[in-house]
Point group: C2
Chain length 174, copies 2
């Protein structure tokens, strides 16, 4: 199953590895990823050699389909990469050791997407308000003004977050 054939493991080390992957799985689930994604990454992170699908299936007791789907998900955002192991026609994977970078990039990407969605909405709203404002009765005009103010606040927040996201890598990575 392993790249260079299976070796016997001490039950204690085996247990540590299982618990490690389990914790990573929970972490992953809490962060909005699937549990299996976290488990897979952890398993590879804690391995000194590339692993094949069947091995991961056996170790984590999950279905082959699930491993297949989730490992490709991981691959998509650079969490693991496929490696060649000569003498085998299986796919082997190894973890990208730069865990922090992976997490941060994914995280940044997600936030930025959301911010963009919000921005589109806000622009649209501002446009509508300026179009209708002159035709509103006094009371409503006040409300329109109030909305404007709020939209400005939201945009300011978005800008803050954006500049902040840009400085993250410098601050945290080395």
């Amino acid at each position: 199953m392993l790249a260079k054939g299976k070796i016997m493991e001490s039950p204690e080390l085996e247990k540590i590895r299982d618990e490690f992957t389990e914790i990573a799985g929970q972490l992953s689930a809490r962060l909005g990823l699937s549990r299996t994604v976290g488990q897979l990454y952890a398993l590879l992170f804690l391995s000194d050699e590339p692993l094949c699908l069947d091995y991961m299936v056996e170790r984590l007791r999950v279905s082959k389909g699930s491993v297949s789907t989730n490992i490709r998900e991981l691959e998509k955002w650079g969490g693991v990469r496929k490696v060649w192991v000569k003498g085998s026609r299986k796919d082997f994977y190894e973890a990208n050791p730069d865990t922090l970078k992976i997490v941060i990039n994914r995280f940044k990407g997600g936030i930025q997407e959301r911010l963009n969605e919000m921005s589109e909405g806000i622009s649209r709203f501002e446009k509508v308000v300026s179009e209708i404002e002159s035709n509103l009765p006094v009371e409503e005009k006040k409300k329109a003004q109030f909305y404007r103010e709020k939209f400005r606040k939201v945009k300011k927040m978005q800008a803050l977050i954006n500049t902040f996201l840009k400085i993250i890598p410098k601050k945290i990575l080395l």
Copy 2:
């Protein structure tokens, strides 16, 4: 329904408000909160007066139970606060205007909890490894060493994230 009696609204402004809350709801859902929490906060954020449960029920077309539960969730982490409106025995709420602070605090808290869980695990693992290491066969000793190294890496990451979380408020808030 409103604190000072209901006023007619222009349909355009009404539509903007509904879309605004909708977007906030989606944002909220993506960030791991319930959709309704986001909608409630957005509705209050965009209101120039405190709102009561029934009004929120009517505006968002969600059940009273859901509003009750979710507004208290929001209250718990400082997103909204209950205000007194004289002449009514209803509960009125207003949004904490410091949106960014709320989000960041919640976010920080969540991450820190997860880090602590991880830390506990890692400490336990390190203890076990050092206890059993001397009794392991050569091949396994190497693996134990390898595990140690990985644990050290994880701890280093945790430390980085922790110091980073501490500087967030200064960097982003004002």
